[in-house]
């Protein structure tokens, strides 16, 4: 399984990377951890003529607290996020989610930025960034801009990132420990068949769902059903969870039928809500 030939480019700065993307347009692809792109290239589903390896750009894998927010660089690996003491204390949903991704070797190479930019419908990170209401920072030839997670995922494998933009970092709020990620996984790869991330905040809850539909989404009907409640009952949670896939067109494949995915969305929403509320 050899990928089609390509020219390998290794920019030293984000600006250089953007300039390469501008020059080569649709023929160029960014290479981050390579754990979605290289499998696709080996199958020749992707045949980019230029590979822009951003792995050597300094200052893209930070994990830090700045001005009351948590900032995670796009090149932070799943493993670095899983093991970050800062995140365990101040944004525990991120390490919890990271621990669900693939296996140790995949987590050592794969990055949060690559995962978000790729927008695999079965990826884990989309659920977490939606539930955290993350800001996603993009840098391009027209400067920088911030996109809310809720508007970032556009369709299957499609995000708000333009072909000449680099995802540089995500910013999320500091949260309490009232968070949870519950997932039913595909056994071989670990990808989500249905994954639900929950963040409980004062007066409300945010719910991100991945694996179920062509793109990850906020289960806003669930959020509305629980709005204003700080300690919902078990029945209240069950009623809210039943709305997890309201008006959602579910995917079907060899791993799970659409009906089964809808069922798992509800089950995992209920589990994640119960755990986050401590119910």
């Amino acid at each position: 399984m050899y990928p089609a030939p390509f020219e390998y480019l290794r920019p030293a700065t984000i600006d250089e990377a953007i300039a390469l993307l501008v020059t080569h347009g649709e023929d160029a692809k960014i290479l981050a951890g390579g754990h979605s792109l290289i499998p696709a290239m080996k199958l020749r589903l992707a045949q980019p003529r230029y590979i822009v390896d951003i792995g050597r750009i300094r200052g893209m894998s930070h994990i830090r607290e700045t001005a009351g927010r948590i900032v995670v660089g796009a090149m932070a690996t799943h493993d670095a996020i899983e093991r970050s003491a800062l995140l365990r204390e101040k944004c525990p949903l991120l390490p919890e989610t990271a621990g669900h991704i693939g296996d140790v070797q995949v987590r050592n190479k794969g990055t949060i930025g690559g995962s978000l930019a790729h927008a695999d419908p079965a990826g884990d990170w989309p659920a977490a960034v939606l539930a955290l209401d993350a800001d996603i920072e993009l840098a391009g030839p027209r400067g920088r801009r911030t996109v809310k997670a809720d508007g970032f995922f556009v369709d299957l494998l499609t995000t708000a990132t333009a072909p000449d933009e680099v995802l540089v970092e995500i910013r999320v709020p500091i949260t309490s420990a009232k968070v949870a990620y519950e997932k039913t996984e595909q056994k071989a790869s670990g990808f989500a068949i249905a994954g639900v991330a929950v963040v409980v905040e004062q007066g409300g809850v945010r719910v991100g769902v991945t694996g179920v539909a062509a793109k990850a989404y906020r289960a806003k009907a669930v959020e509305r059903a629980l709005a204003g409640q700080s300690a919902p009952t078990a029945e209240g949670i069950a009623r809210a969870a039943a709305l997890a896939a309201e008006r959602v067109e579910a995917l079907g494949d060899i791993h799970a039928s659409p009906e089964y995915r809808l069922h798992l969305a509800e089950v995992n929403t209920a589990r994640a809500l119960r755990r986050a509320y401590g119910n």
């Binding site: 089609a4 390998y8 290289i38 390896d53 792995g55 070797q105 995949v106 050592n108």
Partner: protein, 157 residues
């Protein structure tokens, strides 16, 4: 167009001119004849191709060799020192951690990283840490025994 690349492989600095699409596993097996690193699935699932890249376990079938430029790569051939097996190798020997042996180099490399981060892992922690390595023969139980044996010997080295 080939790219000049310098990689330290099992302690020796090597220079290559590489077609960028060459996967690390092919560089190791074909150019370096380090055939201890196996190819099982070629899709990133089985872990037979696991090597250490600057101490971290990675699947060498899912990485271009050019990405390892400037890095240190350790393969199964690089573990024994002066003929003495690495504690993890010794563990697989003593505790019967293999049958056909196809998965073994990858299992051992991942176990070395596991013990370097957690010197006394529980059986559950070992199973979780080896989730990216598949074995069709042993049923895993003896592999976990082997890693525990290595931990008892002082593990990662």
């Amino acid at each position: 167009m080939s790219i000049p690349v310098r990689i330290t492989i099992n302690g020796t600095l090597r220079q290559f001119d590489l077609d960028p699409r060459m996967l690390l596993v092919h560089l190791l097996r074909d150019a370096c004849t380090l055939t201890g690193t196996h190819v099982g699935c070629e899709t990133g699932i089985c872990g037979a191709c696991t090597v250490l890249l600057d101490g971290s376990a990675v699947k060498s079938c899912t990485m271009f060799a050019v990405q390892a430029d400037g890095a240190e790569v350790t393969t199964i051939e690089g573990l024994a020192k002066n003929g003495d097996l690495h504690p993890v190798q010794q563990g697989f020997w003593e505790r019967h951690g293999l049958q056909c042996g196809y998965c073994t180099p990858g299992m051992i490399m991942t176990s070395v990283q596991l013990l370097s981060r957690n010197a006394k892992p529980s059986r559950e922690e070992i199973a979780h840490g080896l989730a990216g390595n598949l074995c069709r023969c042993t049923g895993y139980s003896h592999i976990i025994d082997a890693v525990q044996y290595a931990a008892g010997m002082g593990g990662a080295r």
